[in-house]
Symmetry: C2
Subunit: 232 residues, 2 copies
């Protein structure tokens, strides 16, 4: 069936996001280096982040709390108040980072919106996502914005039902095979992977394969319209 | 015009919320007492919370980060890693506190839903609010749930427009005059204040007066239907 509605992921599909996390992770490793913390900081932080997902969910506040917890653990509780304050400051800075649209995104979203119903479908912190959408100027180009707490088959199914969208007419595009592509395929919808240079380790934990699972891979958002048109 | 849609606040209107914050604040004061922190802990924490709203928004994660910041400031950065870990642990505990419905709420919501379109309209952390709604069992009784980042005239206006609700047919009920009542009055909608024993200091910062501003005050959610029916 022809595609009628296109869902677009936001972080690292429309604008840079992970790059800001990577930058702060670098500063975090430097901060902990002074404590001779030994352990692999990055690996430990990722394990804490993963464990904390079920308590704190996705986003900057959750990440900030995970850095604080990691700092306490890797320094044998010796981390200074000063350094904890620095980490909290990074959290505030990240909540306010400028929204840098990826190349060609504004034009591609505008073009898609002339031909399809377009939704921005993202997960994470409601406040931060709304602020970024407002700053991006993309909100006015699309039909709607949905911020989910998780992107899995059941949350996509609920969204499609609530918006009265027939799954076979829906195509989702984003940089995460795990969150943007695989969950919709089982619903009978279509998925397009747009790889991004920097992608969070968590999103790379999947067994997706375009040939096996039957999804599309394109270089940029500008290529999504052609894929959508090719589905009949 | 007759009321058609009723919006219900969630925290401290449908279930206990502030009581969990008050409990943790008590433990926080005890924790800081060991540092001879001198200052009025409660007052300082509230000031930090207020300042952090624009960075971190409402909810438990924001509150947890504000406690950490307050602890650093009031101890001259001497707060121990152990105590910071305790504070992070409180945050996790709060994200998981049991949902205790206020007296008569399940029955009142079910009764309202037989007569009106009912929406739960809350603000704060998306993950936490969704988890509480799921645990409450109230989600199935109502037409929809909206989690907002802020409850002011513009966010209510947007919500009513998005849901195609005529403002004069809308009534909002909740424990906060500031967030649940005053913002909707200017739109031509109706407001009902249901005072709750424990209400966050932030929500009490308003100049609302039922006689001056023209809103209703009732003892419990069970009284909202009668108020709604009285509006013609």
């Amino acid at each position: 069936m022809a595609i009628n509605v296109i869902g677009l992921d936001a972080d690292d599909t429309l604008w840079e996001s992970e790059a800001y996390f990577v930058d702060v992770q670098g500063r975090f490793r430097e901060l902990l280096a002074a404590y001779d913390s030994g352990d692999d900081v990055q690996k430990h932080l990722f394990a804490v982040e993963r464990r904390n997902l079920e308590f704190f969910g996705y986003g900057v506040k959750s990440f900030t709390l995970s850095m604080i917890e990691t700092a306490i653990q890797l320094t044998g509780k010796q981390v200074s108040g000063d350094d904890v304050a620095t980490i909290v400051g990074w959290g505030k800075e990240m909540m306010r980072h400028p929204v840098r649209l990826l190349d060609g995104v504004a034009e591609a979203v505008a073009a898609l919106a002339t031909e399809f119903r377009v939704l921005i479908i993202t997960k994470g912190d409601l406040l931060h996502q709304e602020a970024k959408i407002a700053q991006s100027g993309l909100g006015e180009l699309v039909e709607g914005v949905d911020v989910l707490t998780e992107k899995d088959a059941s949350t996509y199914e609920l969204l499609l039902r609530r918006r009265d969208i027939q799954p076979t007419t829906f195509l989702m595009a984003g940089n995460s095979v795990k969150s943007d592509v695989l969950p919709v395929l089982g619903l009978g919808s279509h998925g397009v992977h747009i790889p991004h240079g920097v992608t969070w380790e968590f999103e790379n934990d999947h067994d997706g394969d375009p040939d096996v699972h039957g999804y599309h891979v394109v270089d940029s958002l500008a290529d999504v319209a052609a894929v959508a048109r090719s589905i009949v």
